[in-house]
Subunit: 200 residues, 2 copies
DNA sequence: GATTAAGTCAACTCATTGGTTGATAAACGA
DNA sequence: TCGTTTATCAACCAATGAGTTGACTTAATC
């Protein structure tokens, strides 16, 4: 027993660790909210998944709603990061298809339906629209399409495995929530966009 | 007081009318479920909207869940009808965009996210995929696209004003839940499909 | 080491909500 | 016309679930 425990608290092995607890709760909440939506999620389930007492939800986030908002706003920032990088269109879409599989993505879908708070960073959207406009000028994309509506259509299409999960399953006979499916689907979208630009 | 009330019961003016009550409940329920999703919907709200005592939900449908299922299955049939008509692709999409505005449409979106029951008539989907394949053979659509995934992408895109309501609002600055928006958006999709087929 | 502060938990409270009960009235058949 | 069935409602009930309380325990500070 000569080892000094405090030398490297290293979070994971400490008995008490507020940061870790917070993180556990946030992670568990994202999973639960993402799977069932806000209304159907039970705080008890969140706590159980996090392996922690449910009172701590109140302690750290002031309750169910506070916890939800914490998560809802956290992706604002992650989306903002994404906004900065300027990639080819099919890359952007592929990335988008990927987020489909994450808890964040599911949460975003719920929020959209429920009409919660504006769930995406405005700057990100504006940026994407601008880039689409540029591509139009460059002749990559037909000029008679409205860039805003086109972005909307492409985002919606990319989110299909998520928003139309059931229907996707019915059509393809596969489980749309797998990385393999996402990859295949992203390829198809890339192909589609390429056809759009005329240079198949 | 000589008039014989019973001569023409005419539903709407009768004091008691099971059929009418049932219909009122179904309509109200579709609206409520569509707006908030199953979990967030209160039976009290349904009854209030229908202008009827809440106990009648149990009386006629055996409870909240029974009422929900009643509605969830009812669109199966309406979708099946839609399946029979063979229209040009942009017409199909336009029709789809339209349903976006209905309670049925919203309900369908919720069901897809929640992973409820398979929410669309299988025959309808198969039919649409087959038609897409035909169009491919006819050269209307690039042959290297998978018809199933293409259908998925197009349906998802068409449902954008619904599934990405918030985001749509952010992008366009308009309310996507209006007939005007739906019309404009449907036009864009038609245009997009036309570009896809190469004959801009 | 004693004191204080922070973190965690089990048990409890209280509002909400779906569902039930029993009374009441309209429709209907004999 | 009278009894029976059907439809409707107001009031009640039981269960659930979010949030609170107070005790207890670990860590930090003096």
């Amino acid at each position: 027993m000569a080892v000094d425990q405090r030398r490297s608290p290293s979070a994971s092995e400490r008995k008490r660790d507020p940061e870790r607890t917070r993180a556990l709760l946030i992670e568990a909440a994202a999973a639960e909210f993402g799977a069932k939506g806000y209304a159907a999620t039970r705080t008890t389930d969140i706590a159980a998944r996090a392996g922690v007492n449910k009172q701590l939800i109140s302690y750290y986030f002031g309750g169910k709603e506070g916890l939800y908002k914490e998560i809802a706003t956290s992706w604002h920032t992650s989306a903002a990061e994404m906004a900065s990088t300027e990639q080819p269109l099919d890359q952007v879409l592929a990335g988008f298809v990927q987020t489909t599989l994450t808890d964040q993505g599911r949460l975003w879908a719920w929020a959209n339906l429920a009409g919660d708070s504006p769930p995406v960073d405005e700057a990100f959207l504006r940026n994407q629209v601008d880039q689409l406009r540029d591509r139009q000028r460059a002749g990559e994309i037909p000029s008679d399409l409205d860039p805003g509506l086109l972005l909307l259509a492409l985002m919606a299409a990319a989110a299909a495995p998520l928003t139309l999960r059931q229907t996707a399953g019915q059509i393809t006979g596969e489980d749309p929530a797998t990385p393999e499916f996402a990859a295949k689907y992203a390829d198809q979208l890339a192909l589609l966009v390429r056809h759009l630009s005329g240079r198949a």
